[in-house]
Amino acid sequence: MKRRDFLKNTTTGIVIPSVFGSMGLKALSSSPLVSALMGSVETDNVLVLINLSGGNDGLNTVIPLNYLSELNKVRPHVILPDDSLLPLNNSEVALHPAMTGFRDLYNEGRLQIIQNVGYPDQDFSHFRSTDIWLSGADADQVLNTGWAGRYAENEYPNYPADYPNETVPDPLALEIGYSSSLLFQGSVTPMGMVIQDPDDFYELIEEVDSPAPGTNAGEQLEYIRLIKRQSNAYGTVLKNTSEKGTNAVEYDEDNTLAQMLKIVARLISGGLKTRLYLIEHGGFDTHDSQVDGSDHTQGEHATLLAQLSDAVHTFMRDLDALGISDRVSGATISEFGRRIISNASLGTDHGAAAPLFLFGNHVSGGVVGDNPEIPDDAMYDDNLEWKVDFRAVYASLFSQWFCVPQDDISQIFLNNFDPISIIKTDQCKMTSTREDTQRAGKELLSVFPNRSFDLVSAEFESDGDIVFLSLKDVAGRNIKQLTRHKYAKGRHNIRFDISDLAAGVYYIHFQQKNLRQAKPVIRL
C-alpha cells in the first residue's frame, strides 16, 4: 500500500461494516411529518458552500496573465509553465491546468470568479482567520455566531422550539462530515446539523422527560439532549429523503469532495428543503510540496484543485440531469490566500487576499475585479491587497439568491457592505415564504419594536417556572439581566430601556428550563 492509499484508508474514508442487527434497526416512524414531506418535491433555492481550508494559493489557481514574467521571477519554486495554463475567454486570467471542469463551467457561464477577496488587517493565523471568515467578524472583533447561523436565525426565528414542524420539516442547514463549524452557530443553538451518510441512520431511545439541573452540567445535558432529539427527528427525514432522491451520473469514488456533493444532490433531488450546505475540502495549507519538483503542474495543490473542479463539474451535470440545477448555487470559502513569493520547500506561506469562486446556472459569470498587482521585486512580507470584503460577497448572495431584505442583511452581517452583482436579476424565487418560515415553530419570545432608540418591550410565554431573560451583545456577552423570576403560566411582558447602549445589534435571550430562544433588537 502506498502513502496515498493509506491516506485514503484513514478513518474518514474507512467504512465500518454495518452492525445493524434485528436489535439495532428500528422501523422508521411514519409520522404525518414524514408523509407531508413525501408529498413535496419543490425545494427552495439552495446554497452549497465549499471550505477550501488551509488557505488556497490564489495565484496558482487563477493566474493573472498580465503578470506572467513577474510571477516567474518571484515564485520560481511553484510557477506553472505558461503553456500549461487554461486561459479563460474574455478575461486576463487563466486557470490551473488541473481545473478543466471549472473552465467548462466558465465557458457555459456558470462559473464566476471574484478577484482579491479578503478583509482589512489580515490575520495570518489559520484559526483566527477561519473564525473571521465563518463568523463574519472584523479582524479585531470576536463573534460567537456564524453569518450563516445568523441568516438562519433571521429566517427561522423560533428555532429550535417545536422544530421540525410541517412548515419546516427539514434541517435548516447541513454539514457533511463529523464536527460542526462556527458557520452555522446561532446565538442560542447550532442552526445546522452534521451528517456523514443519511442512509446510515441509527435511532436512539427516547429519554423520559425530566428537567435538567440548573447548573453548568445541566446546560451541557440540555445541549446533548437537544442533539439527540434532532438526530432522531431529522435522521428519519434525511433517510427517507435520501431514499426518495437519486443521482443521475457517476461520481468519482476516490474524490471525497465528489462523494459529499453526491449526497447533497441526492438530498435535493429527494425534495429536502434545506437551503444551506457546508462541505470541507481540506489540505490547502501548502507550505511545502505544493508542486512536484519535476513537474509543477502536479503535486498536492494540483490534486486538490482537480478534486474541486471535477467534483463541482460532476455535481452540476448531475443537477442538470435531475432537472434541479436552477435551484442550486455554490461558493467557496478559504481563510486566506498565500504569499506572493514562493519558498524553497516548493510551497507558499500564509498570505492575504485571494480569488473566490461562485457557481450555478444563475451566477452572472465572468471575472469580477482587476487582476492583483504582482511587483517583480516582491519581498517575503508582501501580500496581495484585498479589494472586495468577503462579507460583501455572502451578503450579496443572501439578498440576490435568498431574497433577504436589505435591512435584515445589515443585521446579519452587522454592517453595510456594497453589494456585488453575483446572481442574474430576479432569481431569488423561493417556494416557501418568509412569512411562513418566520412563524414556524413555537414563538416563546417576541420583541417590539425590534429597532429602537430607547424603549423596547419583550413578550414571552411562561409555563409557570423561572424565566431567565437577558440582553446580550453580538459576542454573546451579557449586558443586562432583564428578569429572573417565576412567572405564572401564560404570556407576560417586560419593558426596558436600551438608550444607554451603543448603537448596534443586540439579542434578547429567553430561557425557561430547557427551552431557549433569542430575538434580535437593534439600538438605532
Binding site: M1, K2, R3, F6, T10, T11, T12, I14, I16, V19, G21, M23, G24, F124, H126, F127, R128, D131, V142, N144, G177, Y178, S179, S180, Q185, M193, V194, I195, F201, Y202, L204, I205, E207, V208, S210, P211, P213, T215, N216, E219, Q220, Y223, I224, I227, Q230, G235, G282, H287, D288, N343, G347, D349, Y380, D381, A475, G476, R477, N478, Q481, D500
Partner: protein
C-alpha cells in the same frame, strides 16, 4: 429623567455589572478578546487551597474520571482505601515504559511482509528508506500499540498526559509517515509527560517527526520557513492572549534562529543534524514583547544549540508561557470556560507554581488535583466525554476483553478496529485535523460540545448498544461485555437501587432525578417489586448454571444498561 441623573444611573449600572455580573467583562485568553460566554458557569470561588470537604465516592470518582481513561470498579475500590493526597500521588506516578511495538502486521495472505523486521520483533530500529508500504504498516502498528497502552490497566495519569501533550504539540502521523520517527516523538512525550515542559519543548523542537511536520528540516538561511517558528509562539508557548502581542518580526527572527536543523538524508539512519552552512548567522532582534531581546548570531557546529537555548530561555522567561500552558491543562482536566475568577484564583497561582518549579509539570498537577477548586460541585460532570473518554473509557469500565486465545495478529486487528471506531467518533489517534490539535480543546465558543453532533451522537449510542448486545465491531469477531460479571463486581448487586446507583457512578457524569431512576428500575424490574430482583439475583447466584435463572437476570441487566449508556448523562464526565 434629567441628564445628570441618567449619567449617574449609567455609572451605577456599570458598577453593578462589574460587581455582580463577572461575566460582563469576560476575557477569552485564546482569542485575545473580551468575548461572551457561550455557556456561563456559575463562578467557582474556591481556589488552589487544599480541598477540605467530604471525601467519598463522588469525589474519588470525579478525580479518577478526569485523570484516567474511564474508571473501573476495582480502581474505585482501591482508591477508597486512600487519602486524597495518597491517591493524587499514586495518580502522578509514571507508569513502566511499555515494550516497544513489534511487527504484528506481517500477513502472508495479504502479501504483507516487512523485509527488515521479522514477525514478532520490535520494528523501531528499522530504517526509514524502505518502500513505503511497510512504513504504512508500521504507522498503523504504532497506533494500535498506542491504543493498547490507553486501555491497559493502570492507576496513573501518565497515558492521559501523553495524549494531552500530543494534542498540544500536535503532529499528523499520516503526514510524517515514518514508524520509527513517530515512535521517537511519542517516546519523548512519555519521557517528559510528567517531567519538565521546557525540556519537552526543546526535545520536540528538533524532533525528527516535528522537523518534517512543520517543515523545520527545510528551514534555511536562503529561504527561511516560518511554519514552526509561528506555531512555537502561537500554539505551543505564548498564545495570542498577551497585549501587546508578539510580532510578525518575532516569528521571522525565531525562524532564522532555527535555520540549519535538518535531516541528513545521506546517512542511512537519516539522523537529525545541525548543518552550519544553512544557519543564518546574523543577529536576531526581537520586539518589545520580548523586552527587545537581541540574540547574537553564531557560527559553527554549536550555533544551533546555543541559539535554540537562548530562544527558549527568552520564551520561557515570558510570563505568558506558564499562563498559557496552565490554561490548556485546566481546559483539558477541569472545564473549558475560564472566567476572571478562575483566572485569578486558579490559573495565575498555577502559573506561579510552574515558574517557581522551573516548568516542572507534576507540582502544577499536584496542586490542581488537591485543590478545593477541582472538587467544587460545579465541576462534577460538567465536561463532555471526548471519544477517548467515551469509547476507551467504557471499554475499560465495562471490562471488554480481547480473548486470551488471540495471538499477535488478532490483537493487532482488534486494536486497529477500535482505533477506526474512535476515529469515526472524532479522534483519530495520532492524526488531529491540524497542528492546533483537536478543536474541542480550543475552538471557541463550543469547545467540548463539538464532540456531540447529529453525526456522532447516534454512533455513540450504536457502539454502546453493540457492547451490551451484539458486540463491538472489529475485524475478527465482535466483543461483547459480560453483563453478569460486571454486575457481580458491584458491592450490592442484589439490591436493585444500590446496583443502579453503583453503575451510574461509574458511567454517568451527574446524578439522575427520581423520575429517571424509576425509569431504569422499570427496565430492571419490569414492573415488579424490588424484592423480585433480589430473589431472582440470589436464585441465579445459587444456581448459576440454570439457563432460565441466568437469562432472567441477564436480559434485564442488558435492557437497563442500554438505557443507562444511551442517556445524555453518560456523555458527561
Amino acid at each position: 429623567m434629567n441628564k445628570s441623573i441618567k449619567l449617574k444611573a449609567q455609572e451605577d449600572r456599570k458598577v453593578f455589572f462589574e460587581k455582580f455580573m463577572p461575566d460582563y467583562k469576560r476575557f477569552d485568553h485564546e482569542a485575545n478578546k473580551i468575548v461572551a460566554p457561550f455557556k456561563v458557569r456559575a463562578t467557582v470561588n474556591a481556589g488552589l487551597e487544599p480541598y477540605a470537604g467530604p471525601w467519598g465516592d463522588q469525589q474519588i470518582a470525579h478525580l479518577l474520571k478526569r485523570t484516567l481513561v474511564g474508571l473501573t470498579k476495582e480502581e474505585l475500590n482501591t482508591a477508597k482505601s486512600m487519602t486524597r493526597e495518597q491517591l493524587v500521588e499514586l495518580l502522578l506516578t509514571p507508569t513502566q515504559k511499555p515494550d516497544p511495538p513489534v511487527n504484528d502486521y506481517n500477513n502472508p495472505d495479504e502479501g504483507i511482509e516487512d523485509p527488515e523486521i521479522p514477525f514478532g520483533q520490535p520494528w523501531i530500529t528499522g530504517t526509514n528508506n524502505i518502500e513505503s508500504d511497510v512504513q504504512g504498516q508500521r504507522v498503523v502498528s504504532l497506533k494500535a500499540w498506542w491504543l493498547k497502552n490507553l486501555i491497559t490497566p493502570s492507576m496513573s495519569i501518565h497515558e492521559k498526559m501523553i495524549f494531552f501533550w500530543h494534542n498540544h504539540l500536535a503532529i499528523e502521523f499520516w503526514g510524517v509517515f515514518s514508524g520509527t520517527w513517530l515512535y521517537e516523538y511519542l517516546d519523548k512525550m512519555r519521557t517528559h509527560a510528567l517531567g519538565n515542559f521546557k525540556s519537552l519543548m526543546r526535545a520536540i523542537t528538533i524532533d525528527r517527526a516535528m522537523l518534517i511536520y512543520l517543515n523545520g528540516f527545510l528551514n534555511n538561511k536562503f529561504a527561511p520557513d516560518e511554519n514552526f517558528a509561528r506555531e512555537l509562539q502561537e500554539l505551543f508557548c505564548i498564545g495570542k492572549n498577551a497585549d501587546p502581542h508578539y510580532t510578525e518580526g518575532d516569528v521571522q527572527m525565531a525562524a532564522k534562529i532555527l535555520t540549519g536543523w535538518t535531516i541528513n538524508y545521506d546517512d542511512p539512519q537519516m539522523g537529525r543534524v545541525f548543518f552550519p552552512p544553512w544557519h543564518d548567522e546574523s543577529d536576531k532582534q526581537f520586539s518589545s514583547f520580548y523586552g527587545n531581546r537581541l540574540i547574537r548570531g553564531r557560527s559553527g557546529p554549536g550555533a544551533g544549540d546555543a541559539e535554540l537555548d537562548e530562544l527558549l530561555d527568552m520564551i520561557f522567561d515570558h510570563q505568558e508561557t506558564a499562563l498559557f500552558i496552565c490554561r490548556k491543562l485546566y481546559r483539558f482536566f477541569v472545564y473549558t470556560d475560564i472566567d476572571p475568577t478562575t483566572e485569578i484564583e486558579v490559573i495565575e497561582p498555577l502559573a506561579q507554581i510552574m515558574r517557581d518549579n522551573n516548568y516542572e509539570i507534576t507540582p502544577v498537577l499536584r496542586s490542581l488535583f488537591n485543590s478545593a477548586h477541582f472538587f467544587d460541585q460545579a465541576n462534577y460532570g460538567v465536561a463532555i466525554k471526548s471519544p477517548m473518554d467515551f469509547l476507551l473509557g467504557l471499554w475499560r469500565t465495562l471490562d471488554l476483553k480481547i480473548p486470551e486465545s488471540y495471538g499477535l495478529t488478532e490483537n493487532f486487528a482488534v486494536n486497529v478496529s477500535t482505533y477506526y471506531i474512535m476515529g469515526g467518533l472524532g479522534i483519530e489517534l495520532g492524526d488531529p485535523p491540524n497542528v492546533a490539535g483537536f478543536p474541542a480543546w480550543y475552538q471557541l465558543p463550543s469547545y467540548d460540545r463539538l464532540w456531540i453532533t447529529t453525526s456522532t451522537i447516534a454512533p455513540r449510542g450504536l457502539h454502546t448498544d453493540s457492547m451490551v448486545y451484539w458486540g463491538l465491531w472489529n475485524m475478527i469477531e465482535p466483543i461483547t461485555m459480560d453483563v453478569l460479571a460486571f454486575a457481580k463486581k458491584m458491592d450490592n448487586p442484589e439490591d436493585p437501587n444500590a446496583l443502579i446507583d453503583e453503575i451510574l457512578l461509574l458511567v454517568h457524569g451527574i446524578p439522575l432525578t427520581e423520575v429517571q431512576k424509576q425509569n431504569l428500575k422499570n427496565a430492571l424490574l419490569t414492573g415488579q417489586a424490588d424484592s423480585y430482583w433480589t430473589e431472582a439475583w440470589n436464585a441465579y447466584i445459587n444456581d448459576p448454571n440454570d439457563e432460565m435463572k441466568r437469562s432472567n437476570i441477564e436480559n434485564r441487566l442488558k435492557w437497563t444498561l442500554q438505557l443507562i449508556l444511551q442517556q445524555a448523562e453518560c456523555q458527561l464526565t
